[in-house]
């Protein structure tokens, strides 16, 4: 088995790394590149804790081979804040206490941002449907949905200002 050189733009920077042909993007992000914000929950595509945006599509990074991302563009949870300035979603998750243990939070924020980037006017039903692939065992989801609704409102207001 020969390791492959993979060259991918991650959070705006070109990153070159080595990966075995069968290594998941999640494992490469965490173990090789050192971006440990994406979490391993189920490692089989059910929980969404490993969500990243790959070539403008929300994906489970556990269900993507790292070698598939050669030449691609990836946004991880580490690429969501602007320096010290939190993204409105991150701010509203804090304000609404939309997390307890926090393992699912990076996935929820990446997934929710992917929705609001596409559909800034998403309503509660749409948000709940979109986030069906993200599991949280602590909050009961209501606070998460409220946080996403609040962030959407802030982002719309920000877009107008």
């Amino acid at each position: 088995m020969t390791k492959r050189i993979v060259s991918t733009t991650i959070n705006g920077e070109v990153v070159e790394f080595l990966a075995d042909p069968g290594t998941s993007l999640l494992d490469s992000l965490r173990d090789t590149i050192g971006l440990t914000g994406s979490k391993e929950g189920c490692n089989n595509g059910n929980c969404g804790a490993c969500n990243v945006v790959l070539n403008n599509e929300l994906v489970n990074s556990c269900c993507v081979l790292a070698v598939e991302t050669n030449g691609g563009t990836i946004t991880t949870i580490e690429g969501i804040a602007q320096g010290d300035h939190l993204h409105p979603l991150q701010q509203s998750f804090l304000e609404e206490a939309a997390l307890q243990c926090g393992i699912c939070t990076p996935g929820f924020i990446v997934a929710a941002k992917a929705l609001l980037d596409r559909e800034p006017n998403a309503d509660e039903a749409r948000i709940r449907h979109w986030l069906a692939g993200n599991l949280c065992r602590c909050t009961g989801y209501d606070k998460i949905v409220r946080a996403v609704l609040d962030a959407a409102e802030d982002m719309r207001a920000g877009a107008k200002a």
């Binding site: 595509g45 599509e57 994906v59 081979l65 979109w130 069906a132």
Partner: protein, 290 residues
């Protein structure tokens, strides 16, 4: 066994050559939402991942001048339901594509992958069957095609031989006054494996009072997704009313040969076969009239 190699051929011929060279240890990688997980969990040995998403024919979604639809075997569910023209003309396909997993899965998972994974509970296969889709298969001996209902041969098994791969699915243009629909029963709202599912594709007579043609298919009630010809035949030539639809539902119940497992019992699944058949026929009628 670990994955030893990853190749991304640029053409179908190249892909077939790699598949032939490595035999069963080479697997076609489309969205990977089944394959990558199965490999990791030791349920499938994969020596060589053959990523076919770089082959244009495998990812295209196009409507022909005759109104037929061709979907590349690796085209993602999202690329199908975001196509406004496909959504308008083939709403049953959207029913299926938009409930396979969550959005993260739909970004990658393909109808071709769903078919080749050949799960009896697959959420797109009954729709493919009801819509009369034809699969095109490429292999060392050239190309062949067959109706989707002949593709699966058992749970996780299908007709693909060594060196063969699914290239595309072609759907005939929907007939005038026709409608189709798919429904799945699961105990939650999203993200679950079907206890049972069903699809119907019906054509109404010019005055809208009779069924002119009908195809019904069921999932998760037999070792393979099931084309229930008797259910469609129960409708054809008959008046559009509850009695006729009930006869089709009864035919679906009779055709179902499910097992009892953690998701449902034989009795529940046979009941669901009838209930879902009734529902998808009614929804298909609504769409035919719209």
């Amino acid at each position: 066994m670990a994955v030893l190699d990853y190749v991304a051929p640029a053409t179908v011929d190249e892909a077939v050559a790699v598949l032939k060279q490595h035999g069963q240890s080479a697997r076609v990688l489309a969205g990977g939402t089944d394959l990558i997980v199965q490999e990791r969990e030791g349920r499938r040995n994969v020596g060589v991942m053959v990523d076919v998403k770089g082959i244009p024919e495998l990812t295209g979604v196009s409507i022909g001048s005759d109104g037929s639809l061709k979907v590349g075997a690796a085209a993602s569910c999202a690329s199908i339901y975001r196509n406004a023209e496909v959504a308008k003309r083939f709403p049953a396909l959207i029913d299926s594509a938009s409930l396979i997993g969550g959005v993260q899965i739909q970004s990658r998972a393909s109808l071709g992958g769903n078919l080749c994974n050949s799960s009896p509970a697959a959420d797109s296969i009954p729709t493919l069957i009801a819509l009369g889709a034809v699969c095109e298969i490429a292999g060392p001996g050239g190309r062949r095609s067959m109706p989707v209902e002949e593709f699966c041969t058992g749970p996780g098994r299908n007709v693909l031989g060594d060196g063969e791969m699914l290239v595309s699915l072609t759907f005939p243009a929907p007939a005038a006054r026709s409608g189709a629909a798919f429904e799945r029963f699961i105990p939650r709202n999203e993200m679950d494996i079907a206890v049972a599912n069903a699809a119907a594709n019906i054509t109404l007579s010019a005055d809208g009072t009779k069924f002119e043609a009908a195809r019904i298919a069921l999932g998760a009630v037999a070792p393979t997704p099931l084309f229930v010809k008797a259910a469609g035949d129960a409708l054809v030539g008959q008046p559009v009313n509850a009695d006729t639809i009930e006869k089709a539902a009864e035919a679906a119940r009779a055709a179902a040969t499910p097992i009892t497992d953690m998701r449902g019992s034989v009795e529940q699944r046979k009941h669901l076969a009838a209930v879902l058949t009734r529902r998808v026929i009614n929804k298909a009628i609504e769409r035919a009239k719209a």
